[in-house]
Structure formats: structure tokens, C-alpha cells
Symmetry: C2
Subunit: 204 residues, 2 copies
């Protein structure tokens, strides 16, 4: 049982753009649902209409999320990823670029949907972002591995609703092992969370 | 700048039930959006209708997500939490109970919205779930702390679409420090991810 791996097609330019816009609208809806004070009756009425829209989208359903789309730059992305994927409504999304010298980096802002302690980012959300960015830094070495260990050090709370910076870089490779380090930095330039990860490449 | 902490009211029974149902419909919509093959035109049409529904929910908007609601058991919960919160659409949600002997545990299933490697849970999502459950185990000692360090050891991939178990327990307390351990276990009874965390209580 469970979900089987399947061969997946990429999306064409029109579908990528439409699903990216759809995900953006669902992010706005999600934030509105967490903050609404419109009352039980209005929430129930909106919920009924959502069920009908879900049915329309589900009229044709893929077996698994698409992997790649065609962005404006023409570069394929992991577009349904829950951290970085533009078509995944739960992704902030964190739009990660990898520089020629192998630094994975993104500027991003987290809404109150991602709140843990009052007015701060949930520690697990910071962990999720760092896992993704360190993984992309490791992959920038040309070797793709699975996360083996991830260590997070929380230096101070990470604020919601302000621009954050996340950066990571592979520090060394030993056989099938790739080590990477990274951090999230707040708008005052101070590091809020540091991370170190070990990724292990599958045996050939 | 950023989000300021605010005093927050709890939700009454009717509003808790209505927002819980609304979040469930948004989770179904989110999964449909990630899997839809209905085409660019239909996705754009649905997106337009969503914007109108978001405006209805936003007609009255709280300054911050509510903290507590009244569940069927009458026990207050952190209802907008991005991991465990029933009214937060990005939360699976992981419905965590704490046993009288201090074990925080939950059975949960993750949809393809949470996919990392093909057919498996994103490593950062597992980290997010473990941070939350270890934090609740630490809080079960009667002391509330912030995450200081979180170490994750990925033993094998965590499957999507099947029942998973997560359990955690505080292992010891030293002054303002609380240590906790936990793991996610797959349906075959094998541990997929282990975690150790240190939580530090604020100075009085």
C-alpha cells in the first residue's frame, strides 16, 4: 500500500502559469481562513463552495504531483515541493537560487500561517526550510543524496512578516557523504537558526 | 515592523467547528491543486472564484490567529498551529495526545502535498512534525521552553499515504533545560526518523 513512484510528465508553460496562480490564490485563502473573524455561518458557506471547486479540479487527477514546469527563465524546477514549489499551496514558497559558486540562497517572508510561538516562526517550519536549502546546496556539488542527519541550533526567535534570508553551502564531500551548512538570518542581520546536514548518495 | 504579539480570544464551539471544517475543505482543495490535470483554463477559472471566497472570509479579519478553541472533548488546543492545528489548512493535522505518563503521541497520514523524494515524505516535513511532538513532550513536564537544538537522524524513507506513528518523551531536566527524544515509525513497525531536542525555559 501507500503511494507508488510513477513516471511523471512536466507541465507546459500555460499550465505552469495557471497552477502557480492557483496556488497563490489558495495561499491567500489559507491565510484568510486562519485569521477570519467573519463567523461560523460565513465559514460554513465558504466551505460548501470550496467543495464544488475541489470537485472541478479533481475531474482530471494525476497519480502523483508533477515534478517540473517551465518557468520564465526556462529552467526546470521541482514545482510541487512543499517548501520551494510554486504550485504547492503549503509552500511559502521559498524561491531558492544556486549561485555559480554553489551557494543556495533565498529571500522569503513567512505569514502568520507559519506561526509557532506568538509572533514568531514555528521551529519546525525553520527546520523544513533549512532541510530544503541545505539539500539544494549539497545537490549543487553534482551529487544527489538523501538527508541522513540534520542538526538545528536555534539562536533566537525568527520573526514572522519580515524579509528573511536563508543561505547554505556544501562544506565537504567524503566518498558518498556530502556535508552542508546553512542559516536563516533576520532583517537585522543576525542569525536566527543554524543548520548542519549530512546527505548520503545512493550506492551505484 | 513584523508581527506584534497580541492578546487573543479563544473561539466558541460553533466557530471552532466551522473553521475546522473550512480547513478540512482547504486541505482537499490543496491536494486537488497539486494533482489536477484539468488544464490551465479550468485552473484559472477556479482561481478567480477563490479570490472572491477569500474576500468574504477577510471581511472581518483578526490581527493574529486564535490560540484556543473548544473541541469535542472540551479541552483547549493550539488550534492554528501549522503542524497540529485543526483550523490551519497547512497542518496535516497531526492530532497529538499526551498520556498520563508524559508520552506525546499521534497517528497520522501524509498526503502527496508533503512529498519530497518520489513517493516519500519530505525530510523537512518529518522534522517539523518531530519538533512539534518533542515540544509537547517537553511541555508535559509542566515547563514550557523554546527549542534550542533539534537533531534528526533519518534511518530510512518515510512513506506517504500510509498510517504513521510519532511518539516522544522528555528524558531529563537540568535547571532550565529539558531534553526530549522521539521518533516516527512506519506501518511495518520500523523507525524512519529519530529526533533528540533540547528546550530551554525562559528566565523567570
Amino acid at each position: 500500500m501507500g503511494v507508488e513512484p510513477t513516471v511523471r510528465d512536466g507541465l507546459d508553460r500555460d499550465e505552469t502559469a495557471a497552477l502557480t496562480a492557483l496556488a497563490a490564490r489558495i495561499r491567500e485563502l489559507t491565510e484568510a481562513a486562519v485569521l477570519t473573524g467573519a463567523g461560523a455561518g460565513e465559514a460554513a458557506a465558504v466551505a460548501d463552495e470550496l467543495a464544488a471547486l475541489t470537485a472541478r479540479l479533481s475531474a482530471v487527477r494525476r497519480a502523483a504531483p508533477p515534478f517540473t514546469g517551465t518557468g520564465e527563465s526556462g529552467i526546470d524546477r521541482q514545482i510541487a515541493n512543499p517548501v520551494a514549489g510554486t504550485i504547492n499551496p503549503i509552500a511559502p514558497p521559498v524561491d531558492i537560487e544556486v549561485t555559480p559558486d554553489g551557494i543556495a540562497r533565498a529571500e522569503f517572508t513567512l505569514s502568520q500561517v507559519y506561526e509557532g510561538p506568538p509572533a514568531y516562526v514555528h521551529g519546525g517550519v525553520s527546520a523544513m526550510v533549512l532541510d530544503q536549502v541545505l539539500g539544494m546546496a549539497a545537490a549543487a556539488t553534482g551529487n544527489h543524496g538523501m538527508t541522513a542527519t540534520l542538526e538545528l541550533r536555534y539562536r533566537r526567535p525568527t520573526p514572522l512578516g519580515v524579509p528573511l534570508l536563508v543561505e547554505a553551502k556544501a562544506s565537504r564531500t567524503e566518498g558518498r557523504k556530502i556535508y552542508a551548512d546553512g542559516a536563516i538570518t533576520g532583517p537585522d542581520g543576525r542569525v536566527t537558526v543554524e543548520a548542519t546536514a549530512l546527505f548520503v548518495m545512493p550506492r551505484r
